[in-house]
C-alpha cells in the first residue's frame, strides 16, 4: 500500500492530480467552516467571487499566457456572456439552452474579433482589444431597442438548473467549485492536446512555429475563441452570483483586473491565475475593511499592479519556481564541488 502511494506520488503529473483532487474535496467543507465563523456568509460570498474571477482569468490565460496575444478587452466578453444568458432567460428560453446559446454568441463574437486581430502586433492588439471593450460598453449603455435596460442595469433571478434553484451562497459555492474544477481540467487537457502545444509554440516564436508547419493564424484564432468562451462563461456565473448587472460592473477596470490577476499569479502557468485572483480579491477586501483606506483603494490597487510589473514580473508562481531553480542549481554546484574534490583529479 505504502509502495503504491509513493509510486503514485512520484510523477509530477500524478502529484498534481492527487493534490488537486484532495484540495477540491477539502474545499467541499468550506461552507461548513464558514457557517461556524461569525459573519461567515460574507466570507463565502468573497470566496464565490474569487472562483468566478479565477475562471475568467484562467480563460484569459489561455489567450495571453499560452498563445501570446494580449487581451485588454476581457470585460467585453465577460459582459456579453452575462447579458446574453440573462436576456435569453428573461425571454423564456430554458436555462440550459440559453447558456449554450449564449456561449455560442460569445464564441461567434470572439471569432469576429480574432480573425482580423490575429495579424496585429502586440501593442496594437492591446489597443484594438481596448477599443472592442469600449464599443461593447457603449452598446450596453445605449443598447439598440433597450434590450440591456441601458444604465439602469438588470436584476437577475436566481439560477434555475434542472428544477433546482441556486438561491443562497452555499449552493452557488458548490456549483462554482464544480465549474472551476471542470474549467481547470478543460484547460489542462486543452494545453496538453495537439492544439494546445501548437498554441504554445506560436507564443514562443511565430516564425519557428510557422516553419514547423503550424498554421499560426488558425491556432491564434482557436486560442482566442476558447479563451473568450471561458471568459463569457465566467460572466454568466458572475451574473447569477451578483444578481445585478449594469454597464458599470463591466467597465474597462474589469479587463485590467483580469489581466492583473493573471500577471500576479503568473501568466502561462496553470494555477497562476487562480492564485492571482485569490490574492487580488483578498487584498481588495482587506483594504476595503480598513477604515480610512477605503477611498484610496483604487490608488492602492494601481500601486500594487505597478509593483508587480516592476519587481515580480513572472508573478508569484514564477517567483516560486525561480527559488526552486536556484535551490537545484545550488545542489548541482555542491555536487560538482564534491565530485571535483573526490574523483575529479583524474583529468588534471
Amino acid at each position: 500500500m505504502k509502495n503504491f502511494v509513493l509510486q503514485t506520488l512520484r510523477s509530477r503529473r500524478r502529484r498534481l492530480a492527487v493534490g488537486g483532487g484532495f484540495a477540491a474535496i477539502m474545499a467541499c467543507f468550506v461552507p461548513l467552516i464558514c457557517s461556524l465563523l461569525q459573519g461567515g456568509n460574507y466570507y463565502l460570498n468573497v470566496i464565490n467571487y474569487i472562483l468566478v474571477y479565477a475562471i475568467a482569468s484562467t480563460g484569459l490565460n489561455i489567450m495571453t499566457g499560452y498563445s501570446g496575444q494580449i487581451n485588454l478587452g476581457g470585460a467585453a466578453y465577460f459582459s456579453v456572456g452575462a447579458y446574453s444568458v440573462v436576456i435569453l432567460c428573461n425571454a423564456g428560453v430554458p436555462t440550459l439552452l440559453s447558456i449554450i446559446l449564449a456561449m455560442l454568441i460569445v464564441a461567434f463574437f470572439g471569432f469576429l474579433t480574432a480573425v482580423p486581430a490575429a495579424k496585429l502586433k502586440y501593442h496594437f492588439l492591446a489597443l484594438a482589444t481596448m477599443a472592442v471593450g469600449e464599443i461593447v460598453n457603449n452598446l450596453l449603455i445605449v443598447s439598440p431597442g433597450g434590450i440591456t435596460n441601458d444604465t439602469h442595469g438588470m436584476f437577475v433571478k436566481s439560477l434555475n438548473l434542472f428544477g433546482f434553484k441556486f438561491k443562497d451562497d452555499t449552493s452557488l459555492f458548490y456549483l462554482l467549485l464544480l465549474m472551476t474544477v471542470l474549467c481547470f481540467l478543460f484547460t489542462w487537457a486543452f494545453l496538453n492536446s495537439k492544439t494546445g502545444r501548437a498554441c504554445k509554440a506560436t507564443r514562443d516564436s511565430v516564425d519557428a512555429a510557422g516553419s514547423c508547419g503550424i498554421s499560426v493564424r488558425k491556432y491564434k484564432i482557436i486560442a482566442t475563441v476558447v479563451s473568450c468562451v471561458m471568459i463569457g462563461f465566467a460572466g454568466f456565473l458572475f451574473a447569477y452570483l451578483n444578481r445585478y448587472i449594469s454597464p458599470d460592473t463591466f467597465a474597462a477596470g474589469k479587463s485590467t483586473m483580469f489581466m492583473s490577476m493573471m500577471m500576479l499569479g503568473g501568466s502561462g502557468t496553470l494555477f497562476g491565475p487562480f492564485l492571482g485572483s485569490v490574492l487580488i480579491t483578498l487584498i481588495m477586501e482587506i483594504l476595503r475593511g480598513i477604515p480610512g483606506v477605503g477611498s484610496y483603494m483604487q490608488l492602492a490597487y494601481g500601486l500594487i499592479l505597478l509593483a508587480i510589473m516592476m519587481f515580480l514580473p513572472q508573478g508569484v508562481s514564477g517567483f516560486i519556481s525561480q527559488l526552486r531553480f536556484k535551490r537545484i542549481k545550488k545542489k548541482i554546484e555542491q555536487q560538482a564541488v564534491q565530485m571535483n574534490s573526490t574523483g575529479g583529479n583524474e583529468d588534471a
Binding site: 485588454l72 482580423p116 502586433k121 501593442h123 499560426v216 510589473m309 514580473p313
Partner: protein, 298 residues
C-alpha cells in the same frame, strides 16, 4: 447657403480644436513608438494632471494664463522624464506586455492621485478674452467663435512646429532620431539612449499637459478630462500611420472633426463610432494614411 456655412464653421472650429489636442497626444505617441517601440496608456492621466496643475497655478497662485500653462507644461515635462527613468526603464527590458500593463497601472495611480490632490470636482476655467470679448465675431456669416478655440488651435500648431524644429534642427533632436533608428548604433556613437528616451517621455507628457490646459476653458477641468484624450491620441496616431509624427497630427485632426460631426448627428454612439473607426483603420488599413509599416506582424 449662409446657414450651411454657419453650421460648417460651428462644427469645423471646435472639431479642429479637439483634433489639435488629439494631434498633440498623437505626436507624443508617435515619438514614443519610434523611440522605444512601446505604447503609453498613461497619457490620459498625465493630460488630466497637467490641466489641473495649470488651473491651480492660474487660480490658487494667481498667475496669468500664459505663465501657468507654461509652468504646467514644464512640470509635466519633468514628470514624464521621472516616469521613464523611475518606472518604465525598469520594466522596458523584460517584455512588451510589462510596459503595456505598467502604463495602465500608472494610469490608475496618476488618475487617483489627481482625485486625491485636486478633488473630484469639475473646475470651470475662465474663457480667454481678446479685445474685450469672448467671441470672435465674423460679420460675413454672422457667427461667433470662441477665442479659446482659436487660441487652442494656434498654440497647438506652434507646439507642433516647435517639436518639428527641435527634432530636425537641434543636435539633441538628431540624437533622438538616431536613437530611435538604432539604439545600439546610437549608443556606440556616444548618444545616451537613456537620456533620449527620458526626453521623449518628457515631450510626450508636456504636449499632453499643454493640450489639457488648452481644452480647460472649453470643457471644464476634471481629473477625468484626459482619459479620452490619451486614447484618442493613440487612435489618431494609428489613423496617420503609427510612428509617423506628421501622420499623427493629420490623424488627430481627422478624429476630432469626425467626432464632433458624428456627435452632432447622433451623440449616444459617439464613443462606439470613434472606436469602430479606429478598428476599421487598424484592421483594414494598418499602414494608415502615411503608409507606415509598424503594425502588421509577419
Amino acid at each position: 447657403m449662409e446657414a450651411t456655412l454657419k453650421l460648417i464653421l460651428q462644427l469645423l472650429i471646435p472639431g479642429l480644436c479637439l483634433g489639435c489636442v488629439y494631434g498633440l497626444n498623437g505626436v507624443g505617441a508617435a515619438l514614443l513608438y519610434k523611440g522605444s517601440h512601446t505604447i503609453n496608456n498613461a497619457q490620459g492621466a498625465v493630460v488630466g494632471f497637467g490641466a489641473l496643475l495649470g488651473y491651480t497655478f492660474q487660480n490658487a497662485f494667481g498667475w496669468g494664463l500664459l505663465p501657468s500653462t507654461l509652468a504646467a507644461t514644464i512640470v509635466c515635462f519633468l514628470f514624464g522624464m521621472f516616469l521613464q527613468i523611475g518606472v518604465i526603464s525598469q520594466v522596458e527590458k523584460k517584455a512588451p506586455i510589462y510596459v503595456v500593463i505598467a502604463t495602465i497601472a500608472l494610469n490608475i495611480v496618476i488618475t487617483n492621485g489627481n482625485y486625491l490632490l485636486f478633488g473630484t470636482y469639475t473646475y470651470e476655467s475662465a474663457a480667454i478674452w481678446i479685445n474685450g470679448s469672448k467671441y470672435l465675431h465674423i460679420d460675413y456669416v454672422n457667427v461667433d467663435i470662441l477665442w479659446s478655440n482659436i487660441v487652442a488651435i494656434g498654440v497647438s500648431f506652434v507646439a507642433m512646429v516647435a517639436v518639428h524644429f527641435f527634432l530636425n534642427k537641434t543636435k539633441f533632436g538628431s540624437a533622438m532620431r538616431a536613437a530611435a533608428m538604432d539604439p545600439f548604433a546610437a549608443e556606440s556613437c556616444g548618444i545616451s539612449v537613456t537620456a533620449t528616451r527620458a526626453v521623449t517621455w518628457g515631450i510626450m507628457s508636456a504636449l499632453g499637459a499643454l493640450g489639457g490646459c488648452l481644452t480647460g476653458p472649453l470643457f471644464g477641468i476634471s481629473a477625468g478630462i484626459g482619459i479620452a484624450c490619451g486614447a484618442k491620441g493613440n487612435t489618431g496616431a494609428v489613423l496617420g500611420g503609427y510612428g509617423n509624427m506628421y501622420g499623427a497630427i493629420l490623424g488627430g485632426l481627422i478624429i476630432g472633426l469626425v467626432e464632433t460631426t458624428f456627435g452632432y448627428i447622433y451623440s449616444p454612439y459617439q464613443t462606439a463610432f470613434t472606436n469602430a473607426l479606429f478598428l476599421v483603420f487598424i484592421l483594414l488599413l494598418p499602414r494608415g494614411i502615411t503608409n507606415e509599416k509598424a503594425i502588421e506582424e509577419g
